[in-house]
Amino acid sequence: MGGKVTCTLGEVKQRADFIIYWGGNPAECHPRHFTKYTIMQKSRFLPRGRKDRTMVLVDIRETKSAKAADIFLQIRPGKDFELITILRALIKGQPVADEQIAETGLSRAVVDDLIARMKRAKFGCMFFGMGLSMTRGKHMNSAALLCLAAEMNAFTKFVAMPMRGHGNVTGADVIMRWQTGFPFGISFNRGYPRYNPGEFSTVDVLVRGDCDAAFIIGADPGATMPQPAIDHLARIPTIVLDPHVTHTSRIARVHITTAPQGIAAPGTAYRMDELPMPLKPALKSPYPSDEEVVRRINEAIARKPFWLPDGRQPQMVATLG
């Protein structure tokens, strides 16, 4: 995430007059994004609100968000990286062949119009969703879009931000970056953190059968992962912490019910623009919080002999107690 050209949603709300949603469906997945942060807000710099802002939606199919957009660009599935690369070339005036543009499902006139609008904008913002980051190309697509945002700053102010789902998934990135230096896909098996998505990322690890125990918290891979990964979770001892008995709990050796975050458990959660928000739980749960349970598991493991021959326990990240 280092070097990402981004801003907070507050800045978007105050200043962004040109907003692109790429591979996301905020109307259904982030229902208040339009009204709270982007197109519908009036501000000192954009007093007429919606009339002062232009919204572009780039997606492979016409979702409900298309109704809110001024311009809807329907591209061919799997051609996101190609289109971003074409845009990066064209903004700098480099030649691109008609066939190459046609391959993305758009015409040259449409692409030229988009570039003219991007360059005319005072403050452009690109939000990218899982339609970009979870399709062919994956993190290379996100990297290309972040490059495009950075390069647009030669002409005008431009930023990019991922549309994160799943509550505090942003917090997971931030905490892991803070504690280990890497955002995800980490191995501690040499006693210090190493980062290598593809080798240490969960789906790959499970499908290859590399791990011999799994600790699952705040996720339900039994409902979302490919079958070979679920089969491996059922083969090995799996431990699940969740407010509900989930699909994964049913194949797990140990399930512990915990209090739902923000409803019955206090703490902090990160917004998609990496702003930490305090939680205000309304209810008192009969179950313990995730934090308490993981801390107690940590303490129980610390009481056991360590697996190195000399019994030493190198600790990179000291949080016990």
Binding site: H33, G171, S201, A269, L283, I297
Partner: protein, 115 residues
């Protein structure tokens, strides 16, 4: 019975993490979540303080919290390459404990981001 009101509560359903929700609740459940969207309303109203599930399950049988914590620690300690995964629907404080867990175990640590 009159309901208690929490102003500016935080919704953690999606990445927007709206912090302007007004919750009307009693001891058992949240009855109203003003300003929340459809997804947020469902999130707040579907979670209650009822004891719907057993505290813990070990090998499919009900167990106490202490037994389950000991069983979890034993499985994780016995493993050569344990995996710590998820961390989406939980607090930063719990996530920090998870990093310490993976570190202590010499295991793997990963979140939803890699999916």
């Amino acid at each position: 019975m009159s309901l208690q009101v929490i102003e500016n509560a935080t919704c953690t359903f999606c990445g927007c993490v709206c912090d302007d929700i007004q919750l009307h609740h009693d001891d058992m459940r949240i009855h109203k979540a003003n300003h929340a969207c459809v997804l947020g309303t469902a999130w707040f109203l579907n979670h209650t303080a009822e004891k719907k599930y057993p505290v813990a399950l070990v090998d499919g049988r009900e167990a106490t919290l202490d037994e389950a914590i000991e069983a979890a620690a034993t499985h994780l300690h016995a493993a050569d390459m344990p995996l710590v995964y998820g961390m989406s629907n939980t607090t930063c404080e719990a996530q920090k404990q998870c990093v310490a867990l993976a570190d202590q175990l010499g295991g793997l640590l990963d979140s939803h981001t890699s999916l």
